[in-house]
């Protein structure tokens, strides 16, 4: 079956195409070259006057795993306010502060997103994370495995293990948990909290292992480069949310020593201590450093006003922030000599100085980081706000007068304490397409996603242009997933199953001898029980296929 998407204005930055009218052809779920004369075209979708982009990719969204499920169970009051009754092909479910997996898949797809990456998969919780992602319909999924707070890694590092051995352990983890990358959260801090430390600076010593977050970051960035994992080490920095944490963020960048590093939800890590309230924007300082460091990429973690729930692996900081919980209930867990988690509901209020300034800092970062290939559109869903507010966020980026109008309604000191009002930059559609499609595919090493060239998966979005970008991006005319029309004008038309994306770098399996011994002495399951096979992950993840992306050694 050959489908033609005819006459659309194609925006495909990965292939250098900016608003060029052309036809796209799709066969068996894949974009193909134009057919030869006389070849039969089975179906034509008229896209004349419409904008055509690849399916959007969210590289940091908490969609699956224990902490998200705790958040769902924690907050029935918000689910009750956001019911999603059975409708067409959709089963009944709820949205709310932490949406169900069904709602997540339906709403992402309806909005033109076709791939989502869970950024905090605890290795011991990987099966559940894959299962939750597997029950998230339509979209493709992948996950970053959490390392850097697990006792095995910390004792390796503390014992002066060779980098080669750390590389093997990182690679083994990617295989065993079926992950697409590695993330570190508050390097060493989650573990330090189990030893009763309440904070850990980048050069602070872990109370038990006597290693520093800087050493953890050094070893893990080296491993990622050495193994050739396409996605840089995904880093949730130290001191999340603490005024003055910009210093930690700059130190974190330095700790990478020029190796690739991705700083996630940077907004929560760009705070100064100036002013009467000892809370200020350090966005300019951070953005300058990012602009000057080509090895660094970032996603913003924009906050948007309203009720949300923060789900994080960072048990240390979540315990510290729990006093701000609203409603006042929260869960903190220490997890299996592996990591931790903290689930704290939160309500961002526009008349609150701190929240208003957080909002402004996020937008400052978006506008001050110059290269759209290195800054990604995220709200750290659901932590800064729900992913379904992305169209609103896009409008804030594309429309300066709208942005300043919103700013004028916030706590007045948000404007005076930040440079936002003076920033004139407006994102173009092309830049939006980079930051939501081409760039995430590139930084994740997804060769066949995020672009519209022949051979790419037919994940395609057709938008009706609208003077209000929020309207345009909320309910695209057509969304194709692997060639199937899954949504039209915001309504789900077909419920399909997405693939799982993983990387599997080469490594020396000799590491398993050491791991087997560690599991026997300290774990409560065997090494064999821990590992997830390719076959098993497709059952857990209900995936028609496992897509393994290439690792290229970067020495």
């Amino acid at each position: 079956m050959l489908t033609r998407i005819a006459g659309g204005r194609v925006i495909d930055p990965a292939n250098g195409v900016n608003d060029v009218i052309r036809d796209l052809y799709v066969r068996d779920g894949v974009i193909v070259d134009a057919p030869r004369d006389g070849e039969r075209i089975d179906r034509t979708i008229d896209a004349a006057g419409m904008i055509v982009m690849a399916g959007a990719i969210d590289l940091h969204t908490h969609i699956g795993g224990g902490k998200v499920n705790i958040a769902r169970a924690l907050l029935p009051e918000f689910d009750r306010l956001d019911p999603m009754p059975a409708h067409g092909v959709c089963e009944p479910c709820t949205g709310g502060a932490a949406p169900s997996t069904l709602a997540t898949g339906y709403r992402y797809a309806a909005m033109g997103y076709t791939a989502c990456f869970e950024p905090a998969m605890l290795p011991v919780n990987a099966r559940q994370a894959h299962m939750e992602m597997g029950d998230t319909p339509i979209v493709d999924k992948g996950a970053y495995a959490l390392l850097g707070n697990d006792d095995f890694f910390l004792q390796l590092l503390a014992s002066g293990a060779e980098q080669r051995e750390i590389d093997d352990y990182v690679a083994w983890t990617l295989h065993a948990t079926q992950a697409a990358g590695i993330k570190v959260v508050n390097a060493g801090g989650i573990s330090a909290f189990k030893f009763n430390a309440r904070s850990l600076d980048v050069d602070g010593e872990h109370p038990h292992y006597r290693v520093t977050p800087r050493q953890v970051l050094g070893a893990l960035t080296r491993a990622i480069d050495g193994l050739g994992v396409p996605h840089p080490l995904h880093v949730h920095g130290s001191n999340l949310g603490v005024p003055g944490n910009a210093d930690s963020t700059l130190a974190t960048i330095d700790a990478a020593e020029g190796r690739r590093i991705h700083l996630t939800h940077l907004q929560f890590h760009s705070y100064g201590t100036e002013g009467d309230r000892k809370f200020s924007s350090a966005a300019q300082r951070i953005a300058e450093k990012v602009n000057a460091s080509p090895n660094v990429s970032v996603d913003v973690g924009q906050i948007l006003f309203g009720q949300t729930v923060t789900c994080s692996g960072d048990s240390m900081m979540q315990h510290r922030n729990a006093r701000h919980a609203r409603p006042a209930k929260w869960v903190v867990m220490d997890i299996e000599c592996d990591a931790g988690c903290g689930v704290v509901p939160f309500r961002y209020r526009d008349r609150d100085f701190v929240n208003a300034l957080q909002w402004a800092i996020g937008l400052e970062l978006f506008l001050l980081v110059r290269d759209p290939w290195r800054v990604f559109l995220t709200t750290d869903h659901p932590n800064g706000g729900p992913f379904w507010s992305y169209p609103h966020l896009i409008k804030l980026l594309m429309d300066r007068s709208f942005r300043n109008e919103v700013l004028s309604r916030l706590h007045p000191e948000a404007a005076t304490s930040s440079t936002l009002a003076s920033l004139e930059r407006e994102y173009s559609l092309y830049e939006i397409a980079i930051m939501t499609r081409a760039a995430p595919a590139r930084i994740l090493g997804l060769a066949d996603r995020g672009h519209l060239g022949p051979g790419a998966a037919a994940d395609i979005v057709v938008y009706e242009p609208h003077s209000d970008p929020e309207v345009q991006f909320t309910a695209p005319r057509y969304v194709f997933k692997d060639g199937t029309v899954v949504a039209e004008r915001g309504e789900i038309k077909a419920v399909t199953a997405g693939s799982i994306h993983v990387v599997k770098p080469e490594f020396d399996r000799g590491i398993e001898r050491k791991l087997d011994d560690w599991f026997r002495r300290h774990h409560t399951q065997s090494l064999a029980s821990f590992k997830i096979s390719d076959e098993e992950v497709c059952v857990c993840g209900r995936a028609p296929k496992l897509v393994t992306h290439a690792c290229t050694h970067r020495g």
């Binding site: 029935p76 409603p327 209930k329």
Partner: protein, 271 residues
């Protein structure tokens, strides 16, 4: 009698959500239109005309007779008017009430007035468990208005209560005012076990000393507590038993707790 009258004549096979039957919603509609209103049951909708005899005129007063406990959420979220319920009124009557008056000439089920914010509910008979509390999974119970029960209340009355007034002429079950956040409870009968468990703030006036007082409440001596005396006097209009308490109470034995929570609540036993 003025107003609209519904009289139950057919028992639905499973519980029905009666929250559509609000005076403010029905007011001004024709009887035929009211008969066609569909109430959600379990996988089926029941027209009002199938379940009830409908008579009178739809004003701001609605009376529902012959209730047998099969309707939940009657009067939920009501903002205005008067709802009179006769018989067994079911669960969640007046849930989230925002201003109307509900009179129950009979008994109420569980979760009476749960999460109510304003308005008034009066029950001639008994109420079930969790009167004046909040829905499962939420942090706050009743946060305003007056809830008056002439009979007894079950367990956990005023659980998580945040504001407002709960008045009970009869006895209370276990865990009266558990996790109470603020507000006022006056109980003329006897409280069963563990009154005030995990209470944080708020005031519970007891006409009779409970059989046992939790060890996490400490005696704070005998006090006059003028504000409470004034409150009790203001309740004269709620009936002679409240007037008698106001007249009799010379002062209060005051207990502070629950020290297992923040400990700023008070149980006041009149003497």
């Amino acid at each position: 009698m003025s107003g609209l009258r519904l009289s139950l004549r057919a028992r639905p096979p499973a519980r029905v959500d009666g929250s559509a039957l609000l005076p403010e919603k029905l007011q001004g509609q024709t009887l035929d239109a009211i008969r066609r209103i569909a109430l959600p049951g379990w996988n089926e909708f029941h027209e009002v005309g199938e379940l009830f005899e409908v008579s009178g005129e739809a004003t701001d007063r609605l009376q529902i007779d012959q209730l047998d406990g099969s309707f939940d959420r009657l009067g939920a979220l009501a903002t205005a008017g008067t709802l009179v319920l006769r018989g067994q009124a079911g669960d969640l009557v007046g849930e989230g009430l925002r201003g109307a008056s509900i009179e129950i000439e009979g008994a109420a089920g569980d979760y009476l007035g749960c999460g109510m914010r304003r308005g008034r509910i009066e029950v001639r008979g008994n109420a079930g468990h969790f009167a004046g509390s909040g829905r499962a999974g939420e942090l706050q119970g009743m946060s305003g208005g007056t809830l008056l029960v002439r009979g007894d209340v079950g367990d956990r009355a005023a659980d998580r209560m945040r504001r407002g007034l709960l008045l009970v002429e009869g006895d209370a079950g276990d865990y009266l005012a558990s996790r109470m956040l603020a507000g006022t409870v006056v109980l003329l009968g006897r409280a069963a076990g563990n009154a005030g468990y995990l209470m944080r703030r708020g005031t519970v006036v007891l006409d009779q000393r409970p059989a046992q007082m939790l060890p996490t409440f400490n005696a704070n001596g005998r006090q006059d507590l003028l504000a409470i005396q004034l409150l009790l006097r203001s309740l004269g209009g709620e009936g002679p038993r409240f007037s008698r308490l106001a007249a009799r109470a010379g002062g209060f034995e005051r207990w502070l707790g629950d020290l297992a929570a923040s400990g700023q609540g008070e149980l006041l036993v009149s003497f």
